[in-house]
Symmetry: C2
């Protein structure tokens, strides 16, 4: 396939994802109908579903974009910084509520769950790698397995997504993240 | 109103709530149609909505039942114990996923949000009261305001609900809760 055409396809794919993200943010998973996806992307359903098998595939692609973006920050600055960014720019995370709406689908559809976990693996890998570096540098507490710390930070991230998605006040969460950060650091004294 | 009739009304109300809880757990908030609520409660829509104004009122009453039940445990044994109970008996918390499905409604409907927060206030009050007792007894860390610790535990609880509702593996969460518990205790050394 000639280069120009590949670039064009990649650009079209990005356009579709950007429109779909806005559409999910505004209407939710179930509310993001084919008609609304057409309006949001300014493309026909034929064009959209040429690139993505179905709405589920679109959704998983967006989850993957998120995981990649968060993984970049997590690799350099840690998962707590990912959460601080969410607090500072909640408008960029408008669509996260959609992730909650699909909890039932995750619970009841094992194929979807395994695809979702696969798409989210980048973030976990990046977080784990950074924590291992922190541990080597003596900055991470060493009385708890790294896997437990990853699971802990992941749980807090899920809580953060829920708080943001439900529009509750998040002013108190900066201090909470300080506590979280300190609780995984070496030499913490309460 | 004679006593018998009051008892009858209270029993009927409990029946409706138990049926509605099963119905929300199985079909989700939007999927819990009037017809399905009738089937689950074995009562007519007339009977159901004699006791509860609408589906939203039913939902808020269930949230209130939860908050009261959790508040009893939180008052005696703390919010971390509430979370341990959730891990040990996930089947009793089947309906919690419904709480995620209403995140959009919480975000976009201020009246609903304020009613929801009011219904959940018992749990926060109980948690705060226990933490204050722990602090007086010298068992709570004293370098962080109690309000921050409440917000922290609340965030972890939201994460826990999300994990359970999405059917993801929770085996690693017992160790995570140990870490959470320890991170609010006085004299923690990492």
């Amino acid at each position: 396939m000639p280069k120009v055409s590949e670039d064009h396809l990649a650009a079209r794919r990005r356009e579709i994802l950007a429109g779909a993200r806005r559409c999910f943010a505004e209407y939710g998973y179930d509310g993001a109908t084919v008609r609304r996806l057409e309006e949001a992307t300014e493309l026909s359903r034929g064009a959209i579903f040429h690139h993505f098998r179905d709405k589920e595939a679109l959704f998983l692609a967006l989850a993957h974009e998120d995981a990649e973006r968060m993984a970049d920050v997590a690799a350099d600055q840690g998962l707590v910084q990912v959460m601080r960014d969410m607090l500072d720019h909640p408008e960029e995370f408008d669509w996260l509520g959609t992730r909650l709406e699909i909890a039932r689908k995750l619970r009841t559809d094992p194929a979807f769950r395994s695809e979702w976990l696969e798409r989210s693996a980048d973030l976990e890998t990046a977080t784990l790698a950074r924590l291992e570096r922190q541990r080597s540098a003596g900055r991470l507490r060493d009385d708890v397995p790294t896997a437990t710390i990853v699971a802990y930070l992941d749980l807090v991230l899920d809580g953060m997504i829920t708080r943001l998605a439900s529009g509750r006040d998040t002013d108190d969460l900066h201090a909470v993240l300080d506590l979280v950060e300190e609780s995984v650091r070496r030499g913490t004294a309460g």
